[in-house]
Every structure is written in structure tokens, then in C-alpha cells.
């Protein structure tokens, strides 16, 4: 880790967004992670996405659990709300916060340990409840904070730093999320921001549970030859199925593509996603086909990345529960107390 703070000087010609802010205004404290950690690139991608979306930082909440990845919300959006929860319990805190104040944008950051091991139950229920949030897993296949044991997402074929074999099957969180009914599932790579930033922008705008599994190499414990979560392995075996371009609603699309190559999806905020098929066999609207495809490729040693599954038609948790459109934390006594007539009718129905 660096001991000096990042100088406040920025490039004099740094672009500004609609709020008059530069990318630097979305930064947080100096990272204390190992030099070269993939997680820092994910933080940078979140910063870039929020900057490009003109998000006001104070209308966003960052949530996390425990682990290297869960430390990272400190390193971006220092002007946002934040909650660093108990290990594996970020999903519950996010669910509660989501119900209490539906006006904020929620970004949950977790790791493979925090989500696939101790927090697996929490994760599963946040997915099937369609909590309206972006849930990012910074997935490096290792427990970096406890010196590099295999995590539950480490591929069976992936060996340890000193050649140790891995005895257990890996959990594929993206496949799991599709099976559990997430409406937005993607896989990214910390070393490819051209792909990751548009995915984060789309996920932040999506209504419902948006899950991004980001392969984020651990340079200290899992970036060696024989690891399937190293920079080199992912670069060599990455197979991107769908490129995502986020198009703000005021912008016209000028690039032209052959028919069938491009699908435009309108999000609930009237912005569009332009999806470019990189693999004509892949259908991002078919959950069964998507899971089969990902597993087939996985069996061939490939890592499928890009937007994997998208359903803009499902309701989110608040709609499913038919909650009021006002944030619950803004409901005062007058709004919450039933009128004498309503109270009377309720009592009558119970007599």
C-alpha cells in the first residue's frame, strides 16, 4: 500500500459531467489493497460509470461485507452513504435499506468469500426477491485477506500458488443468479474497462437485481501459472458474447450495424442499451440456454463474459410487495396512522 495520499492536482483539461464534476470528484480514499489488485480497477470502473451517468454521489449508498473487496467502497465515492456490514450480511442490509428508502441508488460490493461462502444464503434471497440494486462480486477465487486459501469460486482445475490441488467444485455465481431469477446478470473482467464500465452503467440504471461477477485477479495469491483467475489466463480464455453500449436518452445512435447484429433495449429511465452480438449463437433472453451455454464453454476451459442475461419485464421487490411509491423513511405519523373509519373496518373484519 502507498503511504502518501493522492495529490489533489488533476489534469487541467479533465472533462466535466452535467453536474460540473470531474472523474476525480467521484474518488474515495487512497486504496490500502496490494499494488496491482484487480479490485482497484473495479473501483475505478465504478467511479467512471457514476461520473459518466452524472450521478449525484450523495444519492447513492455503498454497502459491503467483509473481505478485501468489501474494503473497496472506502476507495470510491467518498461523498456517498455507506454501510460496512457483518461478514456475508451485505445482502440483508441492502434489502432493508432498499425498502426504507427507495430513492437512493444501491451499490453492493462483495467478494467470492463474502457471497459464495458465508453469505450464500443471503445472496440467494436477495436475488430471488429482486432487490433493486447493483450487486458486484469481485471474484478472485482466493481468500486474500487470510493469505490465499482456495475460495468456493476457485475452479477445480485451478492450482494454488505452491502447486496445491483444489478438491472441490466451483460455484458459478453468474449461473446461480440466472437460475435464481436475477433480471440482469453479467460477467466482467477487472482488466477490461471498455467492457466493464458500460456494464456497470447499464446495471446502475436497470430496475431490479443487477448482478455483475467481475473476475478480479489477486496479484498476491492467485495470479500465477495454473490459476484460472490470473490476468493472463482470463485474457487468453475470455469469450465475450454480448457487447453493451449504454446510450443516454438524449444521444442519437450514429454507428450502423448489419441487421440482426444489434438489439436496442429501452430501460425504465428511457435510456437505451445497445447490445451487439459477438456470438450469434447466444440468446441473452433465454435463461435455460444461457446457463447451458456458459457451462458448455466452462467445460472447454473458457470464461464467458459480457451481458449474460437481461429481463426488463420483471417487477422489483417493492413492486412485488406493492409498497407505496414514497420512501418508507419519509412516511410520517399522519401517513402511517389509519383513519378512524379504516381502523373501524379493519377491526370489524376481525370480529
Amino acid at each position: 500500500m502507498s503511504f502518501v495520499s493522492k495529490p489533489r492536482f488533476h489534469h487541467p483539461r479533465l472533462p466535466r459531467n452535467a453536474l460540473g464534476l470531474t472523474r476525480r470528484d467521484y474518488e474515495g480514499a487512497m486504496s490500502t489493497l496490494c499494488a496491482g489488485c484487480g479490485h482497484d480497477s473495479v473501483s475505478a470502473a465504478i467511479i467512471e460509470a457514476c461520473f459518466e451517468l452524472d450521478l449525484p454521489a450523495h444519492r447513492l449508498a455503498k454497502l459491503s461485507g467483509i473481505g478485501c473487496s468489501s474494503k473497496t467502497p472506502t476507495y470510491f465515492l467518498s461523498k456517498s452513504h455507506g454501510f460496512n456490514s457483518v461478514h456475508g450480511r451485505m445482502a440483508s442490509v441492502a434489502t432493508g435499506a432498499n425498502l426504507a428508502n427507495r430513492d437512493l441508488t444501491y451499490v453492493g460490493v462483495s467478494g467470492d468469500g463474502d457471497t459464495a461462502s458465508i453469505g450464500l444464503g443471503q445472496f440467494a434471497h436477495a436475488v430471488r426477491r429482486q432487490v433493486d440494486m447493483l450487486y458486484v462480486v469481485e471474484n478472485n477465487g482466493t481468500y486474500g485477506l487470510t493469505k490465499g486459501q482456495f475460495s468456493a469460486t476457485n475452479d477445480r482445475v485451478s492450482v494454488g500458488r505452491k502447486g496445491q490441488r483444489n478438491a472441490f467444485e466451483a460455484i458459478d455465481l453468474a449461473v446461480m443468479a440466472i437460475q435464481l431469477g436475477a433480471s440482469f446478470v453479467a460477467r466482467g473482467f477487472s482488466g477490461d474497462k471498455d467492457q466493464l464500465v458500460p456494464l456497470i452503467k447499464a446495471a446502475l440504471t436497470h430496475r431490479g437485481f443487477a448482478f455483475i461477477d467481475v473476475i478480479s485477479p489477486c496479484v498476491t495469491f492467485n495470479n500465477h501459472f495454473g490459476s484460472t483467475k490470473s490476468f493472463e489466463f482470463v485474457r487468453d480464455h475470455e469469450h465475450s458474447v454480448l457487447a453493451t453500449d449504454y446510450v443516454p436518452y438524449h444521444e442519437t445512435i450514429t454507428a450502423s450495424y448489419a441487421e440482426g447484429e444489434v438489439i436496442d433495449v429501452t430501460l425504465h429511465n428511457q435510456c437505451r442499451l445497445r447490445l451487439r452480438k459477438l456470438d450469434s449463437d447466444y440468446d441473452h433472453g433465454d435463461p435455460v440456454g444461457a446457463v447451458r451455454y456458459i457451462m458448455d464453454r466452462q467445460a472447454q476451459g473458457e470464461v464467458v463474459t459480457g451481458l449474460l442475461y437481461l429481463d426488463t419485464g420483471d417487477d422489483d421487490l417493492r413492486e412485488k410487495l406493492e409498497l407505496t411509491s414514497r420512501p418508507l423513511n419519509s412516511l410520517d405519523e399522519d401517513a402511517l396512522r389509519p383513519s378512524p373509519e379504516v381502523l373501524e373496518s379493519i377491526n370489524a373484519s376481525l370480529r
Partner: protein, 594 residues
Amino acid sequence: MRPTDITDPQYFHKVVDCQWACPAHTPVPEYIRMIAQGRYTDAYMVNWESNVFPGILGRTCDRPCEPACRRVRVEDKPVAICRLKRVAADYRGDIEHLMPEIAAPNGKRVACIGAGPASLTVARDLAPLGYHVVVYDRDAKGGGMMRSQIPAFRLPQSVLDEEVDRILDFGIETRLDTDVTSLQSVLDEGYDAVFVGTGAPRGRDLQIPGRDEVADNFHIGIDWLMSVAFGHTDTVGRRVIVLGGGNTAMDCCRTAMRLGGEDVKVIVRSPFEEMKASPWEIEDAQREDVEILNNHVPLEFVRENGRLVGVTFEKVRPVYDDTGRRRLVPTGEEPVFFPCDDVLCAIGQENHFPWIERDIGLEFDKWDMPVVDQVTFRSTHPRVFFGGDAAFGPENIIWAVAHGHQAAISIDLLCEGRDLTERLAPHVTLVSQKMGMHEWSYHNVISEDQRYLVPHADKALALGDIRMEVELGFDERLGFEEAMRCLNCDIQTVFETGRCIECDACVDVCPVDCINFINNAPEPELRQRIRVPALDESQDLYVSDDLPTGRVMVKDEDVCLHCGLCAERCPTAAWDMKKFIYEEAKAQNQRLGP
């Protein structure tokens, strides 16, 4: 774009903007770090090796380094490089034991005509090698224009004497109070080489109506300043008009304020923004209540009963054509009249070589300037060299020093019977500054302080005493704080392609967005495609070899803070911070070898 060749010394040299801009290529960040460490003597010696007159230049340099300073591009104001040089001179310890040893006489004799900065530099470089150097000057003391044209309130005589005498003490034979009237007669004395460093000694006259009639109250600026410097003039009229807008004009008006002038005006033809004087000299003049009027062209010296009573001017405005060339066009208003008792004319100075015979094989060009080689400083006469203002027209002290070093190399080569173009390359080192995990041998925390102002003497006191130095200089604490503003541009970011794993850590941490990993393209396209387009073409792009993904690393050198965070965040030490030391070769290197 082709990969950057960092083995070319000029690539990293250019990144050290101050050193690159300095005619003598003084290693500025190196001595500023020494000042911050309190190593004033070392800082002084780094300067002395390179620019010979640290105490003098720390007060009077034209400071081409400061507008070049990276800090101008990053925030606003440059590091006060010049005044830090003075800090080194003010607080240094004894340096006698650090002076070069004087070698046994080598039997060669060199004449230096003029005892200004160029000649003294030649003497400084050649005397230690065993040359017998003879310095001629028409004045009674050495120093040249540094003594005759720079007023004592900017450059105390004690500082000047010390640095000039230090060189003269290298066993230099001086022939002062000696007007050289014939170059041939000097050559006839059998010198192995003659160096002409006579400056640009003739102030330009202004031939407008009334000029000759008011001769008693019309003074050529540099002549008048010299007459003040040597004590021949100690008064001036109550109302003074200074014509011209250069540094000499600023010295004239401020001197006039100290000799009894009460209403002193500088009146200049050009617009204020285009005045030739350094901005800080203009500020100093204005602080002393000198009025500056621009866009006024002198028409006539007005006389009454044969005495000067004032000057009339035509008002003009600048008009620029498509090529940016300026013309001054009369506004059509009535001429304006300003009363005055004395006029000081500082509208430029020129070379003058009446003492060089035109039939001795030394060619002059159509402007009556000697034909001098830009590299060797040799004239068309094999044994005669030129430097300083005498070579290519008026410049400044630091250029004269740079010329002197080069001429000394040529003279040494000539006397050794070698080819004058066989010049040594600069001495260059590039050494990692890594001390530990994230520890560097330099202070990489970037100071966000604004430029510190140099304290000035009380105005009333300063105006009452022509010998009182106006600038008091930084004290040690201010000097330290100002030194910390230096961005250490000589600590280079060096990239090793083979080590890079393309993790993007450096891109993410760089505070000024200067690092990119993108597909290669021709330079104009790369300049547009990087994170923040590189619009300043005078600043280079640092391009790596191809990386495993087929991309290249492209770094825009423009606003890099040299904070070292790229190297701190790099997991494989593909980035390293390396100190780049660049020393111009001098005559002594020529002799000893590299």
C-alpha cells in the same frame, strides 16, 4: 507510433522542462532538493559548475526556466527557481576547498577581450587546465555589463565582486582599464586563441526632431547606468521620461527614482502586454510608483530657450495581420505632450566592432556582425572565437555563460590540435530511487502550496539608498517551503514493457490521467485518443513496445507530477522512478575523457 528511445539523452532531458529551457542546462531539480535538505553548499556547487555565477544569477537571471516549469501547466505559478538559487548562495558555507585545482602551466596562452560573463566563463573553464588566460577590459574592474548595467539595488557589489574575483584568482592575468583598439595587435602578441566577449556595448540612439539640441538632457540608457555605477552621475531631473520597454528601461526608471526623480514615466511604443521587460521587473518598477504608458510613439523633443521641456508623442494602436504580425497604427488623436527634465533612452542596444580590422581574415555579414559558428563559436579566423552578446546579438547572462562553456571546449580542442567538432556527448546517469516497498530517495508528496513571495525592503528606505538591495531573499524556512513545490521532474517514470501484466493499476491511480493502455496509432491519432487528449505538441508522448494484448502503453509527459504513484501501485515494478542526471560536457571533461 514507434517506441520511445529513452536511451537518447535528450528524451528525458526534455522532460526536465527547467533544465531543458536553461541555456546552460543547470540541473535545477537536483539543486532544489539539496536546498530542501539544507545542503546549501552542495546546491551552490551544482550551480557553480554549470552557470558559474549562482549569487549573481540568483538575483538577475532572465530565468527562462520559470515559464517552462511544469507547475505552470499543473497549477499556475512556477517554482521560484531563480530565488532558490539565491538561497543556495546566501546560506552556503565555505567553498574554497571545493575549487578546482589549477594544473601546471601547459604553455598555451588565451586572450579574453571583455571581462563580462562570457569571458569569465572561458577563463573559469580553461585556467584550471593550465592555460595562461589574459583578460582585457576597458573598465577598472571585471564583471562587464553585470557591473555597469545592473544597478546595485538589484545586485550588491559584494556579491558581484566575490564571484568575479573567485575566477580572477585562478591565476588570471588581467589587463583592466585597457581599451583594445585593434584585434590584430592582440593577435600579434602570439596568443594561441582569442575570445571576444565584448557584449553589445552600444545603446541605440533616437533621431527625432530636437535630439541634438537637447543633448545635455538626453542620455543613452546603458551609458547612463554605467556612469551611475561608477559614481560619475549621482543626480537626475525631477521629471524623467524613460523611452523603451525592456529590462534596461526598468533599471533606468528605478535608478532615476533613487537619484532625485519624483515623476518618472516609462513611455513605450508597444502595447503593455508586449513589452520586452520581464514581468517581475515591470512589477518591481510599478511597486516603486513608476508610471508606465503604452502605445505612445515619440515624435519630438520640445525645447524652450534651448533646454528640454518635454516630449510629444503620437498615440497608436496595434493592428495584427493574418500572420500575427503587428503594426502600430496612429489613432488619429492629437499628439500628447509630457513635460520632463531628462530623457533616458533605452530602446535597444547593438554590437559594435570598430576595433576589429576587416582585412585579417575575419568575415562580417551584411548586418556587420562577425560570422560565428553556432556550435564551436569560432569565427572565420581560425584562432578567434566569439561568445555572449558579441556572438549573435543581445541576449542575457545565462546565454553568455552557455556560450563561454562551448567556446572553452573549442579553444581546448584547438590547442590540443584536435577537430573542433569532436565534442563529447553529455554525461548522463539514470538510477532507480527505490529504497523500500513504497519508499523513495526523494520526497514524493506533492506540495499544494502557492508560490511564495520574496520579502522586499521597506520602499521608502530602498528608494533613499541606491545601494540598498530591494529584494531581501527567502529566509531558510521560506526557501524550504518553496523548494518543496518542485515536482522533481528529473525523477523519471521509466517503463519496462516485459514486466507489465496490464493490470491497469497505474492508470487508475495516476492523479493527472497521463497513463494509457491503448492500440497503437500514428502520433496525431494517439494524441486525440488518450484519456485526456494531448494538445501540447511540445510535450512528448512516451510509447512502449507492444504488450502481450497487442496494445501499447502511452504516457503523456505534459502534466505528470512525478509523484511515483504509478511505480508504487505497480505489482511487478514495470514502472520505476529513476533519477536522470544530465551534465553538459565542459572543457575539463574534454581533457579527462568522459
